[in-house]
Amino acid sequence: MPHLVELKDIYKIYHMGDSDVHALDGISLTIDKGEFVAIVGSSGSGKSTCMNIIGCLDVPTSGTYKLNGKDITNYTDNELAEVRNKMLGFIFQQYNLIPKLTVIENVQLPLLYGGVSDREQRQRAMAALRRVGLESKAKNLPAQLSGGQQQRVSIARALAGDPSVILADEPTGALDSKTGREVMRFLQQLNREGNTIILITHDNSIAARASRIVRVTDGKIVYDGPVEGDKNVALQAAAGRDEEG
């Protein structure tokens, strides 16, 4: 069985005038099906860049990226679009819903671009909305929903296409801590149901919900292992258990 995600020696270098910024400085990482990985690190450490490459939204300066065993490093734009559509589901910090489309239309988008029939689009989008508990808001516009609800819509949209990997970049960043915890509980539940989740956060207490921590500093992986092995996250994990227990 190939790894679901396999990054090897990934560099992402931005040229800023005279100096080069190594946003990713030689990252190698493998993630398997069913994992719940949190990529953590302080702001500017390169987490988003890493996620964008895993999410096929961006291409590395060098290195190879295999998704489900296929080397996609040299894919064309349209082929990458196809990969995003079929294999990846995104949850963004800013929800990224299209404001003039209704909730259900937003959720249908990946299916629309996947060539699914109108009927099936509606059925599957409705099912996804039911999973996040928002089927009653299907005909609303995103602006009529609270932040937490909008983030759940974006989760429904990520789920609708039945992706192999769900990528969440700071999904709780724009939410208050209570709503944030709800979203995290939901992601945990999705993981228990078998979904592979890659979570990006600078918040150790959020990262504590994951089962594996990848800590990035200055574009390099400085820790990769279970939650207990990362001092900061382990501390938060213990605190979190006290709070909830």
Partner: protein
């Protein structure tokens, strides 16, 4: 993703931006409306002119001969030639003009200056004369050099008050009395100089009145519209044979004159439409401009769509569909507006004015085409956006 779906998407985007869409359409509306108005008016003018000439008979060939002592054309020769070619010619009549003063025995000093035309009975068919009272000149009138006249409704009402009262009355042309045997149908408004101001007398009588025996003008009627050109050529050949020098005769066909006129109108129409077409071009550039603005405003939306798997063609379709739809709606509004304005203009001008189906179809296709062509560049710009850059913008 089906075309209907993208069309609905385009439509809702247009509805979401009503004012902007309308302003974008304005160029197309004005351009299409002016093209439709121009084409309609030119169509109206053309059919007006054609119908006027139709009244005179589009098949007639006017033959003018310059008198010359050596060789002359005897009337019988031309009559025989016409009779021998029934496939080409239907009729022939001399046309001898007598100008002078016309009055009645009782009208005293009240005279009109007009001209009587000496013709034969064939003239009746050639010029499609219609009588309201009495009869036209007959073969016998010409044989007998009868002093009879057929007058137009202008003369009839001028001298006798009513057309119905003129028959059997007497008019004097340059002093010679003529008995009125018929009054022609009113064609225009019975005024001086109009086509109702006409007097016909037997050509033999006219020759006598002018004191010559040389007929310099004949009107020959071709058998049908399709043979006019052939008939003209054959007549010219015949005349060359008889007279021997092409400088001494001339055959002009009504059809050639009309054709020339219609050709001129066509050129004029083309020019006017080309000028109106410039506003369509401007409209197209307006659409392109707004679409470019729209693409940069919606960069983030494009990024979101791309992150969800929209391909190049999906984004292209979305934007081209939008500009095509805007332009198409503008075109339809322009067609409706132009047609109704042309209709009103036709009513004011007293002309039958209507846009042809062809013009409407072409106008519609042109407006859709403009939207697609001028939407192409902005759409490609949108489709080529890098997803990550597009997502970052706000």
């Amino acid at each position: 993703m089906g075309l209907t779906k993208s069309f609905m998407m385009a439509l809702s985007s247009i509805i979401n931006n009503k004012v902007r869409s309308l302003l974008t359409m304005l160029g197309i509306i004005i351009g299409i409306a002016s093209v439709i108005i121009l084409v309609s008016l030119m169509n109206g003018l053309t059919s007006e002119i054609t119908s006027i000439f139709d009244d005179f008979g589009t098949t007639s060939l006017t033959t003018t001969i310059t008198p010359r002592s050596t060789k002359e054309l005897k009337p019988e020769e031309l009559y025989d030639f016409v009779e021998q070619n029934p496939g080409l010619y239907a009729n022939v009549s001399p046309s001898v003009s007598v100008s002078g003063e016309v009055k009645t025995p009782d009208s005293g000093d009240d005279t009109i200056t007009s001209s009587a035309t000496g013709v034969s009975e064939g003239y009746y068919d050639i010029k499609r004369v219609e009588m309201s009272f009495g009869r036209f000149i007959s073969y016998a009138d010409c044989e007998n050099k009868s002093k009879v006249a057929v007058i137009g409704s202008y003369e009839a009402t001028y001298f006798f008050g009513l057309s119905s009262k003129a028959v059997d009355e007497t008019i004097r042309i340059n002093g010679t009395p003529y008995t009125v045997i018929g009054v022609m149908e009113e064609k225009e408004d019975s005024t001086e100089g109009s086509s109702d101001d006409a007097i016909y007398i037997p050509y033999t009588t006219a020759l006598q009145a002018t004191g010559t025996n040389i007929i310099s003008t004949y009107v020959v009627d071709a058998a049908a519209d399709e043979v006019v050109d052939e008939a003209k050529e054959a007549l010219e050949n015949f005349l060359l044979g008889v007279i021997g020098d092409s400088d001494y005769y001339n055959v002009s066909s009504m059809k050639a004159i009309i054709d020339e006129m219609l050709e001129m109108l066509d050129t004029m129409e083309l020019m006017l439409v080309a000028i109106a077409g410039i506003s369509l071009l401007v409209g197209g550039i307006g659409i392109m401009n707004i679409m470019l603005v729209s693409v940069s405003e919606r960069t983030r939306e494009i990024g979101i769509r791309k992150s969800l798997g929209a391909k190049h063609k999906h984004i292209m379709t979305q934007f081209v569909m939008e500009s095509g739809t805007v332009s198409c709606i503008g075109g339809v509004i322009g067609i409706v507006l132009g047609s109704s304005m042309a209709y009103v203009a036709g009513k004011l001008l007293g002309m039958e004015v209507a846009p042809s189906t062809g013009a409407i179809v072409v106008a519609f296709c042109v407006s859709v085409g403009i939207g697609i062509i001028f939407g192409f560049l902005p759409a490609r710009k949108a489709a080529k956006l890098n997803p990550i850059d597009a997502l970052r913008s706000d």
